[in-house]
């Protein structure tokens, strides 16, 4: 039976122009989505590299000045802007601490429109208020972007529904089912084969169009083959899930109109309702702690600290004798005072901030666990991970850049306290930053989707056993 189904399903799909229309549609959707994604990634990379260029230009100027100073020439700069002052290097030549786009970033806008892709921590900066938010119109954030994730999560299921909702019902309604049923075959198996074949052809169409689009946009298959495979496998399993759902409704529900409405109902449930419901429920049950209340507490702590600024400095030097200078006058500049207070304020804020962070992390963990309630969420999450634009990636960036910020500050601190000069030879010892993405493995989620699909299939096969095929016909 499979051989004949295979041969004639292909003929039917070609003659009804299903294959042609689907392929063209997929090509347009994938193409437009990838185009949009690439635009965004280009803008992101351009802004990073322009910042780096700017930095390099300033750096070049500064190094020239250094050369002149070390050769004993006079430099035409105000004394407080001379690169021999550590504060000048630390504050006016901050590194571009950046998060370069992954080669797969165009797949999913994810959170990339919300968070900044580079920061420039300075010595006197305040880590607790360092802003990682990108400047984006909130309307854009509200509407989202037409990217590959949107096409996959929202639109692909609708194509599948249109492609599969009336496999059995249309035969029943046109009358050809009776002739079929009088053949020595099992109708349930027949439906399964038909749907399996449509799944097969759709998968082929997806693989071809997606690869084509990726080739057109110059995707580097050599270095990012594993990401591409992960992407394909998650899209294919998501497709499988919707086909299995279509199989269940085909078996359960008689009329094609009801089939269509039921499947659309599932789509509304999984893609529209359950994400917003889960989001709403988890936010209600495990609310994100209030930033505003945190701010209030921070303010009180800071207020206390600044009131005791002079006292603080003395205490600080008592705790850190290595920063005390041998200068008997013990005259302290503004920055020494400032740094000491900042340090203490940060120490005092630490428990508050870390409590806040751990609360947010717990909430995120719970929310991330709830993605298993909707396949749409699993796919969105996986694609964001593959693209390196998920919340986790941006948290990673935040963490790594804060660590760097601390290293940067600690590098200059001793020099500043001891009123030492910054030498050109110190320059090469400056801390360097390179963002490293966490290893991503979405195969667990792919497997989860496969298991979910098999479970539904199993349920259908058990609840609608073979012998009941009489029901399918009438």
């Amino acid at each position: 039976m499979l051989k004949y189904n295979f041969k004639y399903e292909w003929l039917l799909l070609i003659r009804k122009r299903w294959i042609q229309v689907l392929t063209i549609l997929l090509f347009i959707l994938f193409g437009f989505a990838v185009y949009n994604g690439t635009q965004k990634v280009d803008a992101r990379n351009a802004s990073i590299s322009s910042a780096i260029n700017e930095f390099k230009m300033e750096e070049k100027k500064m190094l020239v000045q250094f050369d002149s100073i070390e050769k004993g020439f006079k430099v035409n700069t105000s004394s407080w802007l001379l690169p021999t002052r550590p504060i000048v290097i630390g504050n006016l030549h901050p590194r571009v601490v950046n998060m370069p786009a992954k080669s797969t970033a165009f797949i999913s806008t994810g959170q990339s429109d919300m968070f900044a892709h580079y920061v420039q921590p300075i010595v006197t900066g305040d880590d607790s208020t360092m802003n990682f938010k990108e400047m984006t119109s909130p309307v854009q954030l509200l509407f989202g972007s037409f990217d590959l994730t949107f096409v996959t999560v929202y639109l692909l299921p609708l194509l599948i529904i249109a492609f599969s909702f009336n496999i059995l019902a249309s035969e029943r309604e046109s009358g050809s089912l009776k002739l079929l049923a009088s053949q020595p075959i099992n109708i349930r198996t027949w439906v399964l084969q038909k749907l399996g074949l449509r799944f097969f052809w759709l998968v082929i169409a997806i693989i071809i169009t997606l690869s084509l689009v990726f080739i057109v946009f110059g995707f580097d298959f050599k270095t990012s083959l594993t990401s591409f495979m992960a992407l394909l496998s998650i899209i294919i399993t998501y497709t499988l899930f919707w086909f299995v759902l279509a199989f269940a409704t085909n078996i359960w529900i008689k009329s094609s109109a009801k089939n269509a409405i039921t499947l659309i109902g599932f789509w509304i449930l999984f893609v529209l309702l359950s994400p917003s419901l889960i989001n709403q429920i988890s936010n209600t049950l495990y609310p994100i702690p209030s930033r505003i209340l945190m701010l209030n507490e921070m303010r009180s702590i800071k207020a206390e600290a600044t009131k005791k600024q002079d006292e603080i400095l003395d205490n600080f030097l008592r705790d850190h004798p290595e920063y005390a200078t041998n200068d008997s006058t013990q005259v302290r500049g503004f920055y020494q005072k400032y740094m000491a207070t900042q340090q203490l304020i940060q120490d005092e804020l630490k428990p508050l901030l870390s409590e806040f962070d751990s609360q947010i992390n717990n909430q995120h963990k719970l929310v991330n666990a709830s993605i298993w309630l909707s396949p749409a969420l699993i796919v969105q999450n996986s694609l964001n991970r593959i693209a390196g634009t998920s919340t986790e990636d941006y948290q990673d960036f935040k963490r790594q850049s804060l660590t760097f910020s601390k290293e940067w500050r600690n590098f200059f601190k001793p020099m500043m306290f001891k009123d030492e000069k910054f030498k050109k030879s110190d320059y090469k010892n400056l801390p360097k930053f390179e963002f490293s993405y966490a290893n991503v493995n979405t195969y667990g989620k792919t497997l989860g989707l496969v298991i979910l699909s098999s479970l539904i299939l199993f349920l259908v096969l058990v609840l609608k056993p073979r012998k009941n095929q009489i029901e399918l016909i009438s």
Binding site: M1, K3, Y4, N5, K7, Y8, L11, L12, R15, K16, S174, G175, S176, K178, L179, L180, A181, S182, Q183, P184, I185, N186, W190, I470, I473, S474
Partner: protein
């Protein structure tokens, strides 16, 4: 070939088929007459295994249709009242597909000769079925039966909606199959066609087989008289 033993189908209080005992042997054409709702289609659906009998049994080629649903379907062919094929496929392809899923593989030449045998003009073989008349579609249905080498043919009002010429041709086809030894059960309203092709004629009413004649024992006008009497008996009773 076809044999039913006290075959009964009821839906709650309504008895659609009441203890039907029927036998159609090889090379016989049995015509079931009766008004709508008399139980003709129910009989055919039971024989096809499309529904389960409430009690009693039905056999095709000595096999119980409920227990050996798949095997019995290998011996039978069915032509519903309005035979629908895949409109975008042509006759050859439809025939190939339906025989294919019944595990009968033929080459193109054989398929063409089967269609010719079923009376379809060669010029139509490669036209999509969506352009076919009902009579032409029925011929493809017969071809499917031929291809399957069916021993039993179940027909549900095959001549309704056919023009007289097509109906005549269809009768000729049935005779041809009869000579091959096919046992045919045909539900119909068409007394004239029944008298033409049948070997045995039965009249059904309220799920029961009321009367049965060998075709040689009754004239067309007697048949009509008997038919109308059986039916109006009902109205008098009401």
């Amino acid at each position: 070939m076809i044999f039913t033993n006290n075959l009964t189908k009821s839906y709650g209080n309504l008895t659609a088929l009441d203890n039907l005992n029927l036998e159609v042997k090889e090379g016989e054409i049995y015509c079931l007459l009766g008004a709508n709702g008399a139980g003709k289609t129910t009989t055919i659906n039971l024989l096809l295994g499309f529904m389960k009998p409430t009690s009693g049994n039905a056999f095709i080629n000595q096999l119980d249709v409920v227990e050996h649903s798949k095997q019995t379907k290998q011996y039978l062919a069915y032509i519903p009242e309005n035979l629908m094929l895949y409109p975008s496929l042509n006759a050859i392809e439809n025939l190939d597909y339906f025989s294919g899923i019944a595990n009968k593989n033929f080459n193109k030449k054989t398929l063409e000769s089967i269609l010719t045998e079923a009376g379809l003009q060669a010029s139509a073989f490669y036209k999509p079925v969506s352009k076919y008349s009902k009579g032409m579609r029925q011929k493809v249905g017969v071809a499917i039966a031929l291809a399957k080498d069916a021993k039993v043919l179940l027909l549900d009002e095959p001549t309704s909606g056919l023009d007289p010429k097509a109906s005549f041709e269809f009768g000729r086809l049935l005779q041809k199959l009869r000579q091959k030894g096919v046992a045919t059960l045909m539900a119909t309203h068409d007394l004239f066609r029944a008298k033409e092709v049948a070997t045995t004629i039965g009249i059904m009413k309220d799920g029961q087989l009321k009367q049965q004649w060998s075709v040689d024992d009754i004239t067309l006008s007697d048949l009509e008289k008997n038919y109308l009497e059986t039916m109006s008996y009902n109205t008098i009773e009401l």
